[in-house]
Subunit: 220 residues, 2 copies
């Protein structure tokens, strides 16, 4: 049984390592955009296979442990949570790559606004990601819950970015493609927040055994 504990610890470590990879990808993708730094975006795209390899490794490890250890109760919840969190992290990695690709396509344009709100939404979703991973390691349901509360703020920022860009496009149709790229970047960052929310919900379920997804159902 001691050995199983070590294996679970290894799984946790790998998930955290994967979290670190995608966190760094988001960070570099957004910096590449703000600083118009082509090489940072290229790094993010180049590093994608490492994230994908990591995903398959974690999937393999979690499935192997399910098969060999036949866990119950909390250990079972931990392994199914690991499978889900792994998928969310991989998608976050994909979204960071999308941001990097759009950043490259924006490289030849003079910077369209709103370059203050995009870093703001980016730092918000990065903090959500850090918190939900932290909550996972520490089995801290309260911390996970705090991530769920950031969702509205992310949506509000995305809406204000959209409104601002729409106004800019209406004034100056020559910035159309650049502005649409920025709208998609805001949308991709928002979706990173959605995945962090998914992870936070998995952590709450893991710790408390309560399913907090689709909360709207409760009030029906």
């Amino acid at each position: 049984m001691r050995h199983f504990t070590i294996e679970l610890e290894e799984l946790n470590q790998k998930l955290l390592q994967m979290g670190g990879l995608v966190e760094s990808a988001i960070h570099r993708a957004v910096r590449s955009l703000v600083e118009q730094d082509r090489s940072l975006a290229e790094e993010v795209i180049r590093d994608e296979p490492a994230v994908n390899r990591m995903e398959m490794e974690i999937d393999g490890l979690a499935t192997r442990l399910l098969a060999l250890r036949q866990p119950v109760a909390r250990d079972l919840r931990l392994l199914t949570a690991a499978l889900k969190i792994n998928t969310d992290l991989e998608r976050i990695g994909d979204l960071a790559v999308h941001v990097a690709e759009r950043s490259l396509s924006l490289m030849h344009h003079p910077l369209v606004k709103p370059m203050t709100d995009i870093p703001k939404i980016a730092s918000l979703v990065q903090s959500m990601l850090l918190k939900c991973l932290d909550a996972f390691v520490r089995s801290d349901a309260d911390l996970a819950h705090s991530v769920l509360l950031s969702d509205d703020e992310v949506d509000a920022l995305r809406d204000s970015i959209y409104a601002e860009l729409l106004e800019i496009m209406q004034r100056d149709p020559s910035v159309l493609t650049a502005a649409i790229d920025l709208i998609f970047i805001a949308r991709n960052l928002e979706r990173i927040g959605d995945h962090a929310t998914n992870i936070a919900e998995d952590v709450v379920f893991l710790v408390k055994g309560i399913d907090v997804r689709h909360k709207a159902l409760e009030s029906q």
Copy 2:
């Protein structure tokens, strides 16, 4: 053991039922857009809680079977595949809701083109979804493989929709918001295709035990 077979069959049936729900949601969302039919879009939005309930039910059933039956080999792969397919189906349901919402916001606009390509991409991703679910029920890896091949066609359609809309916007900035809604609808439909691809990959893994995700890795 006979009993376990019945439980797995029940799980399969529930997944298919969920597949049917989201398939119908896509269908109605796109029809509501093309026919400017408000009530169809409202139906899709109204039915979302049913999809969410189904997701939690399937998750609960798969996790319970993992715990009680402690399956190995193919049965274990089936249960972990069910967990993943379930997540993909729920996201497809979300995307259908997004399409329905944009369709509502387009209700007051005269129809901007391209109303031929959007139904085309929609029917393509619907057929991908039907095929991958069919492949799942019949354990048909070849059929699942055929889904993976549609991905490029979906991307090409999305690109041509984008190019066409961009041209329209440049000519007539008054259609900006409507055109951006359509760009997002095309993108949402494309992402439904991505989720169908995920499911197809899970089916190949289930049947053959081979991980076909991130195929690019093989050539490195």
